[in-house]
Symmetry: C3
Subunit: 129 residues, 3 copies
């Protein structure tokens, strides 16, 4: 559980950094709240944060369920791939919208595997805790 | 725990499908990233996904707490209603914005019950695990 | 666990209320779905809800991990600060966009502390359960 817990903590840290970058981009690109659009570069920063939230709502519960019902060590390995994939995604997307694809595929792929384990694992009653 | 876990996995699968539909709709209705609006049909696909995330942030923790502190079997029944309600919501909303109401009411109703149990259950110290 | 569970339930209730206020604001300020913008006051209601979701995706898992790996009683204290901070945030933001800062700082500060504990706690193997 400790490894999976630390990975969730690190995923939340990544996301908090992306949130901080959006706050800074509001000033740099002059997009005052409550607007969430208005400058092409700001929009990419905002979508990095939003898409990361859309990924985390899957990643966190599915990682926990996968580690409980399928395999803790594979969960940790997939978690590390997710953490790196999100950095690739953010760096790519911020430079250009077309460059978001590789990181998006990595993290969506990890999430699909985790979801599969979260459904199949409990149904087969393979609890590893 | 296994039944609740599988329902969470299925809810994440539903949400991942809605996310995939948004990706496809970007191409079909010509709304390139980072835009999240620009075509009325695309907007409805996008809101199905976004609203489902807004519902899942409540559903997942509240379902777990309800199953721990109130009743596991009622949690499973409410979870199944949520899963069906989200499909009704998505099918209705994608066809027309006015048709989103029935599914929205079902899933919001389930979430209100789950939240109530998540607050009252722990305060009454009724842990069923 | 019961105290932390009840705080999560209350945080979800707050968020459900913010969601209900957005629904009501759609009618009051004439912003029919699927639009999520179009009136300055509606936009602030909408951002209160969205920003609260962005905060909850961190708060819920990090609060649980902090309570397990660092301290349950400090987790409860931080959780209460978060609950109050979100009310300050919502009341401020709805009155004027500039007035969102104090509540935003309180809740972001709590989340940064919780994230730190979620990473450091598991790595130091300090499990308190």
């Amino acid at each position: 559980m400790n490894g999976v817990a630390a990975i969730i903590g690190l995923a939340l840290l990544e996301y908090a950094v992306f949130t901080g970058l959006v706050g800074r981009a509001r000033g740099t690109y002059n997009v005052p709240a409550p607007a969430t659009s208005g400058d092409a570069t700001f929009d990419r920063y905002f979508r990095v944060q939003q898409n990361s939230m859309e990924a985390l709502i899957i990643f966190i519960p599915a990682l926990l369920l996968f580690s409980i019902f399928v395999s803790n060590s594979i969960a940790i390995a997939l978690g590390l791939i997710f953490l790196i994939g999100r950095i690739i995604y953010a760096a790519g997307y911020i430079s250009a919208a077309e460059k978001r694809a590789p990181g998006a595929l990595i993290t969506f792929g990890v999430n699909v595997i985790l979801i599969s384990g979260s459904i199949i694992g409990p149904l087969l009653h393979h609890s590893h805790t």
